[in-house]
């Protein structure tokens, strides 16, 4: 177990209930994980994570090697170097930064490097907008990174810990995602577990191969031609599909130490629901309140919140929604000239569910930080109930 240096701060090794924003909650999880290396570069609304972590180091709470890189491209590149060398390495990003490092993201997944990147999701330029939505993480969704969405600051904390364990068990990179500002900058009640409990949960990083192993020199990042590249990619996909089972297993183990339930998705009053909204991220809280109100009026409505977005649990989602009359999918991302990503995944899920055709409606909300109100959610359920379902994307402006 890695020792945390002695400091003037005494952190009790027991559960604490704190008022934290999502950024701080992710940084707190990282402090407990205590990675060997963290590459940092500022971008709103991610900066709360790296600033908090830098202060942890300044206060002697961690002795992680922090690399203050000159760009996000270098942030992920340095993380690749560190992880290849044999170190537990993490970084954080958002929006333009995430796309700036996009070139390196398939390298990480192709090499099977278990890197965790905390993401505070945000709109993409142009026009410039620093506020929350999922446009950034959707743009890089199929590059072989596991994507775990969270609703609250508590999820930001929990998902960071689950992400690290998952990355190292599965040999894949993982990004725990929170909505910029709505989660990253909103102070909420967060239960933080004891440092030793988390350190014991994540264990030691024991890479199969490392550049520092001079006795077994390894070549990482080869050139693969037409005769091998395709097979590498098929193997990568096979390995990636195993993530779902491991994720469930890790969530169950994490549930034992935290008392909190994490799963592929959360079913909120869906069991007997005729009309269900599918969505993910911070706005789920608002939608749950709307569901509660409509339930009080006797409406059979529910909500399904996706947690594990990549790899996507098609079969499980299809089965969970098979009994519904109709479904509305709420995406917090634009997809120009196409239906938005979550909608497409839900349509595919319902095809895999089998017997009958489901009506699935597409809505886009919260772009560039636009508020989504309960009235928006109520209007979506009204559409479903009234059969106002067509093949057009509706915008909840």
């Amino acid at each position: 177990m890695k020792k945390i240096p002695n400091t003037k701060y005494q952190i009790p090794n027991t559960k604490r209930v704190l008022a934290l924003n999502g950024g701080y909650a992710m940084a707190e999880a990282l402090r407990q994980i205590h990675p060997d290396v963290m590459a940092v570069y500022p971008i709103t609304p991610q900066t709360t994570i790296i600033e908090t972590y830098a202060k942890f180091k300044a206060d002697g709470l961690v002795d992680t090697e922090i690399i203050q890189v000159e760009s996000e491209h270098s942030a992920m590149s340095a993380t690749i170097g560190a992880c290849s060398a044999g170190a537990r390495a993490v970084t954080a990003s958002s929006s333009q930064g995430l796309l700036h490092m996009a070139e390196t993201l398939p390298v990480v997944s192709g090499l099977g490097l278990p890197i965790v990147m905390c993401v505070s999701s945000r709109a993409l330029s142009a026009p410039l907008n620093i506020h929350g939505e999922h446009g950034d993480v959707m743009a890089i969704r199929d590059l072989g990174w596991v994507q775990i969405f969270g609703e609250q600051a508590q999820d930001a904390y929990d998902n960071t810990i689950i992400a690290l364990r998952l990355a190292e068990m599965a040999g894949v990179p993982v990004m725990p995602i929170m909505d910029g500002f709505h989660t990253s900058h909103t102070t909420e009640r967060v239960e933080v577990l004891g440092d030793e409990i988390i350190q014991s949960f994540v264990g030691q990083f024991k890479p199969e191969n490392a550049l520092v192993d001079q006795k077994n020199p390894i070549t990482i990042g080869t050139l693969a031609l037409q005769n091998t590249y395709f097979d590498f990619k098929i193997d990568q996909e096979k390995a990636f599909l195993k993530v779902k089972t491991l994720y469930k297993k890790i969530c169950a183990e994490y549930g034992k130490i935290s008392g909190r339930k994490h799963s592929l998705f959360e079913e909120y009053k869906t069991k007997d629901a005729d009309f269900v909204i599918v969505m993910m991220g911070a706005t789920v809280g608002t939608a749950k309140d709307a569901v509660d109100k409509l339930r009080a009026d006797g409406k059979k409505v529910g909500l399904l919140k996706i947690n594990l977005f990549r790899p996507f649990p098609y079969k499980e989602v299809g089965a969970a929604l098979a009994h519904t009359k109709s479904i509305a999918v709420l995406d917090r991302a634009m997809a120009f000239g196409s239906f938005p990503p979550l909608y497409q995944d839900i349509v595919t899920s319902m095809q895999s569910a089998g017997s009958r055709k489901h009506d699935v409606a597409s809505y886009v909300y919260g772009i560039g930080g636009r508020d989504t109100m309960q009235s928006h959610i109520v209007s979506v359920f009204r559409d479903l109930e009234e059969g106002e379902i067509n093949n057009k994307i509706k915008y909840l402006t």
């Binding site: 590149s77 560190a82 550049l211 020199p217 070549t219």
Partner: protein
């Protein structure tokens, strides 16, 4: 093959006949008995030494993308520091980066600048073949004035590259690192001496090594040493080093040859010998003289 030379980079790699890149790698890495970890930018060296399922590397090696070799090295450096602290390793290896001029002057310059500024413990070696040779000979920031390249071709309305190449040595020097030097694969003793100094430097060090490319400078494969020597004998490529800010010219050329001697043996400059381009050759000679006199002043 000499066993000593192939201790770190084996024979059987796929570089072109008459390519000096393996010689650069072998002489640089051969200048130390200490452990090394190599980070490589995408380019000729990478694609010719790591064709799966083979590797020519007998030392730990990592390649990720084109523009990030110095940032990758930064991560390895930080990882080693952390693993030393936690007792997982007992000794740090020297991190050595190899990148071409495209990966160094151009797409990797920002990452290099950042890593130099942060003071990581690494040696960056740029093998400079004056263009994007792995992609077939396009113009880079290191391509010299007047050269015919695929993206700055000569024609009735063009004499080739119309701009001077970047002064990469001065760009690197502006980061105030302890040791940097310009060398030439045709001068192996010079290269070995500089590699030793660079590897013994704590913190960042930098080597800019001229690497004549048979394919796209267009000369016979038997001639890379001869062409390389002409680059220095004409003062097109002086050999010098900067130690703690102090300049030393390592090979003062007593009777420099005219620049035509260097240009005329290469197909990439052939068009300059047409009457209409005579002035370009004169311009190149003037620039060579100007650069040398600046360097001599700095070395005084």
């Amino acid at each position: 093959m000499n066993k000593e030379l192939t201790k770190k980079l084996s024979s059987g790699h796929a570089t072109c006949q008459g390519c000096g890149i393996p010689a650069i790698v072998r002489h640089v890495l051969g200048a130390t008995d200490e452990p090394v970890i190599v980070a490589n930018a995408t380019g000729c060296l990478e694609v010719t030494t790591t064709i799966y399922p083979y590797t020519a590397w007998k030392v730990p090696y990592v390649h990720s993308v084109f523009g990030n070799a110095a940032a990758t090295a930064a991560g390895i450096d930080a990882a080693q520091k952390a693993l030393m602290k936690s007792g997982k390793i007992k000794k740090k290896a020297k991190v050595v980066v190899f990148g071409g001029d495209g990966g160094t002057y151009d797409i990797g310059l920002q990452a290099l600048s950042g890593a130099l500024e942060r003071g990581h413990d690494f040696l960056y070696v740029c093998y400079d073949n004056e263009g994007y040779m792995n992609t077939g000979g396009q113009r880079s920031g290191g391509t010299p004035y007047g050269a015919n390249t695929e993206t700055a071709p000569a024609g009735v309305a063009s004499f080739g590259k119309a701009q001077q190449r970047k002064d990469l040595m001065e760009i690197v020097n502006a980061h105030h690192i302890k040791y940097l030097a310009q060398s030439n694969v045709a001068y192996v003793n010079d290269l070995k001496m500089k590699a030793k100094k660079a590897l013994e430097t704590t913190g960042p060090s930098f080597l800019l090594v001229l690497q004549p490319c048979t394919q796209l400078w267009k000369f016979p494969t038997s001639e890379y040493v001869a062409v390389g020597k002409l680059a220095t004998e004409t003062n097109f490529w002086p050999l010098y080093e900067i130690e703690d800010g102090k300049y030393t010219i390592n090979n003062v050329v007593k009777n420099p040859k005219p620049i035509e001697e260097f240009l005329k043996v290469q197909g990439r400059f052939k068009h300059l010998f047409a009457d209409k381009n005579k002035q370009v050759i004169a311009d190149i000679q003037n620039k060579v003289d100007e650069n040398l006199s600046k360097l001599v002043k700095k070395a005084q």
